[in-house]
Symmetry: C2
Subunit: 481 residues, 2 copies
């Protein structure tokens, strides 16, 4: 028997029948359920945990939205869907989905209003501080590399991190409101139900017509007359999938994901013949330049070379450090630039000269010395011709002692989650390898390949999960049996 897929003949009598079955009650599943129910479909949401929320509830709660949302306007920022589109197409990895990106950017103003309608609160105050996930309850924040090279020359920057109103971490309030909206809707929620198989008609029909869920060791079969929406999250917590698709990620010290982020929904879809996309893509955060003054330091690799403009967003720093430098990196500062990092990290080496620091770090003889000499020469003029760090952060590093913060995977926080997953069209239909929709099967959130396939800006997963989750819910509800 193939794992994860059954035929209707194996089911016999269904234990339950609905129109739309949503699997997973994180942000994407909640959005899908709300829209399916409002479109008049009898909707049931399965959640394997005891309650809704998933990884979304554990997150910072930031949604990457723009194009001139009411919140951006209230905070005094202009934005334009076209500028947002240009930034995202340039920054989100090598081959983001242009069709989805266009829809997303053009639909963001309305999507923000929808979130507010669901009761998600946003305080119309811009956060002037340093993090993509502010400690205050302010509503708008910089959460990407918009003002850093090369993006500042590609698109007009605007802050687009939309943060629900809650101090420190906004994921809980976001999900409290979205799950609350689902509870208040006609959709029903079945907690402690883990989907273990999809039910699919034999070829030539091949439609997904339901699912089997395990609840406290007992199997229940649920017919879905119109469709099943997989919103089960990513696969950061499945060691075998990580080894197969993103082996470098195993070295990251922190995996951002609820227990349910074990790729189960991706595997269920694949067992039904679905294609996957960008399974090697991951968001890797290396929060080393907080407070922002630390951007005046230089990040060097195991060869004592710089490798990125240090003012890039920490989602970008982490990806470059892990995937291109093997997770071997140090942030070098002098006494003038030194300050206590927000995320505690070791000052692993100190030296009176760059050469001494180099020896302490075990870097190749002369390498760091050469890097700093080149950097300092241009920095005297406030310039960084090699990596184009913004002039605000370019100062010569000349005041002893010199120090190096540990930014290696061994000694530093690398926060990772997956970005690849099931292939879907812009309406959330799951696609087979020829690009043909698998009838009755839909997907949203990190069970599917995301808008960002690299170069992460915070809030893109909650953003695309809710945006395309809504579309998947509507499309499933509109499917006729």
């Amino acid at each position: 028997m193939a794992s994860g897929v059954r035929s209707p003949s194996e089911i016999g009598r269904w234990d339950e029948e609905v129109d739309v079955l949503v699997v997973g009650l994180g942000a994407a599943g909640a959005a899908a359920a709300l829209e399916a129910a409002r479109a008049g479909a009898e909707t049931l949401v399965l959640e394997r945990a005891a309650g809704g929320g998933g990884t979304s509830a554990m997150s910072g709660g930031v949604l990457y939205l723009g194009g001139g949302t009411a919140l951006q306007k209230a905070c005094g920022f202009d934005d334009d869907p076209e500028e947002m589109f240009k930034y995202l197409m340039a920054s989100c990895g090598e081959s983001p989905d242009e069709t989805k990106m266009r829809l997303y950017c053009e639909g963001n103003v309305a999507h923000y209003d929808w979130l507010v309608e669901q009761g998600v609160p946003f305080k119309p105050v811009f956060y002037h501080g340093v993090s993509g996930e502010p400690p205050t309850d302010d509503g708008l924040v910089w959460s990407g590399s918009e003002r850093a090279h090369p993006f500042r020359d590609i698109a007009v920057p605007a802050p687009r991190g939309h943060v629900p109103q809650m101090e420190h971490q906004a994921g809980p309030i976001l999900m409290q409101k979205l799950v609350g909206a689902v509870e208040a809707s006609d959709a029903r929620i079945a907690a402690n139900h883990r989907c273990v198989a999809l039910v699919r008609e034999p070829e030539p029909n091949g439609s997904v017509v339901g699912a089997v869920a395990d609840t406290f060791g007992e199997e229940r079969s649920i017919r879905a007359r119109r469709g099943v929406v997989l919103a089960t999250g990513g696969f950061i917590n499945d060691d075998a999938m990580i080894a197969a698709h993103q082996p470098a990620v195993r070295r990251c010290s922190f995996r951002v994901g609820a227990e349910g982020d074990d790729g189960s929904g991706i595997r269920l879809g694949v067992a039904c013949g679905a294609a996957t996309l960008h399974m090697d893509a991951a968001s890797i955060s290396l929060p080393v330049t907080q407070p922002w003054g630390l951007k005046r330091g230089v990040l060097v690799n195991a060869q004592g070379q710089r490798f990125i403009n240090e003012d890039a967003y920490y989602g970008r720093l982490g990806e470059w450090a892990l995937f291109h430098q093997g997770g071997r990196a140090w942030l070098v500062v002098d006494d003038a630039v030194f300050e206590k990092p927000d995320y505690p990290r070791e000052l692993v080496a100190v030296g009176e000269t760059p050469a001494e620091l180099e020896r302490e770090l075990g870097l190749p003889a002369g390498s760091l010395d050469s890097t700093l000499a080149l950097y300092n020469r241009a920095a005297e003029r406030g310039e960084d011709p090699v990596f184009h760090k913004g002039p605000d952060y370019v100062v010569p590093l000349v005041k002893p002692p010199f120090g190096a913060f540990d930014c290696t995977t061994e000694g530093s926080l690398y926060a990772a989650f997956t970005l690849g997953g099931l292939a879907t069209d812009a309406d959330g239909r799951v696609l087979d390898p020829e690009g043909t929709p698998i009838p009755g099967l839909f997907g949203a959130g990190r069970a599917t390949s995301g808008l960002a396939v690299g170069g992460y800006s915070s809030g893109l997963s909650l953003g695309d999960g809710t945006f395309f989750g809504r579309r998947a819910g509507r499309c499933a509800a509109g499917s006729r049996p």
Copy 2:
């Protein structure tokens, strides 16, 4: 209707019945067919082209084999399966399949003998020249990074490129012999047959029981009582799959693959619920250090920095230049090191000083100057503490004029093919996402994820394709209906 998979009820009467159906007659398919037929299975090979050979016949024909083969011994080289294993586990990317690697290294001596038994000729002469694909008809060659950092300190180096006896390009003789052996066996070949669908029983059985082939516009159904072996090659010639899985590869000027390398077999497997592995992995060759004297130059990126030891194999240079430097690289030489490259390439800049060369190339001010100063200082002592190039190739670059060979994707040959594909076990059984074999479905060669998932050494694909192709053929033949 889902693409690429049908149920037996759609077929009705089979046009033909065999025990084992092999799809694709490259090296992997030939090996599978030979072993299946010899195990007593009635075997048919479908080949979409007018004749066998596929990409294998277009290749250099090198097989990466070792552990003390008769050819290695005849050429006076010692080797050991354990040293070969250590080299391959260290060099073949981040997460190669250890079980398969172990089997491969331990089985290589016998596998070489098997190739000889099929009539593949190897001249017992070691080629002293510079290429992994020699222009002579010599039989043994260095075809990897065995003698380069860090591998020289990890495993005892040995040349392992086994080249069938033919001048310039040995792929044709390899495939002439293997296809000839298939023709002489009890296996039959159906050319001009393109597999368009697999036939699969409904759940809970889920067995693959045959295939549908298109021949001159007509469909023929073929029952496979014991199994279908997908040996259809990789996907370098499918733009959509490349965009989805390895977008950077689109910038490579040369795609190594017959027309049939369009991923069709991978998609057929996925449509049947197969898992894929390492779809982002690719072999990227940048043949810039031929003649070998050019290894005395330094490769720099768009920041004027070195990024690899230049004596690494060109399969490794290409991967580093493309995936980690965005395909922006130049080989810098001085007048003493300059010689005419084997692969013609432009000297895109010349200068009397490093600073002048830097300006000509448009590199950041001071960057190349700084890199060369650091390099030359240690090179005076024959050392390269930064990237550990072997001392044979370390000389100061000080004699004007200085020149730079174009190694960018725009101006240089980057030869690419894919390394990821269907997930299989060591017997070639295709696996679903839970790691369970899909009954009746087998795979080998570049339709499956290879031994190397990065850091390519020449000959690994023909090596693992024939080795695991044989195992898949035997396993399929041994399956009972």
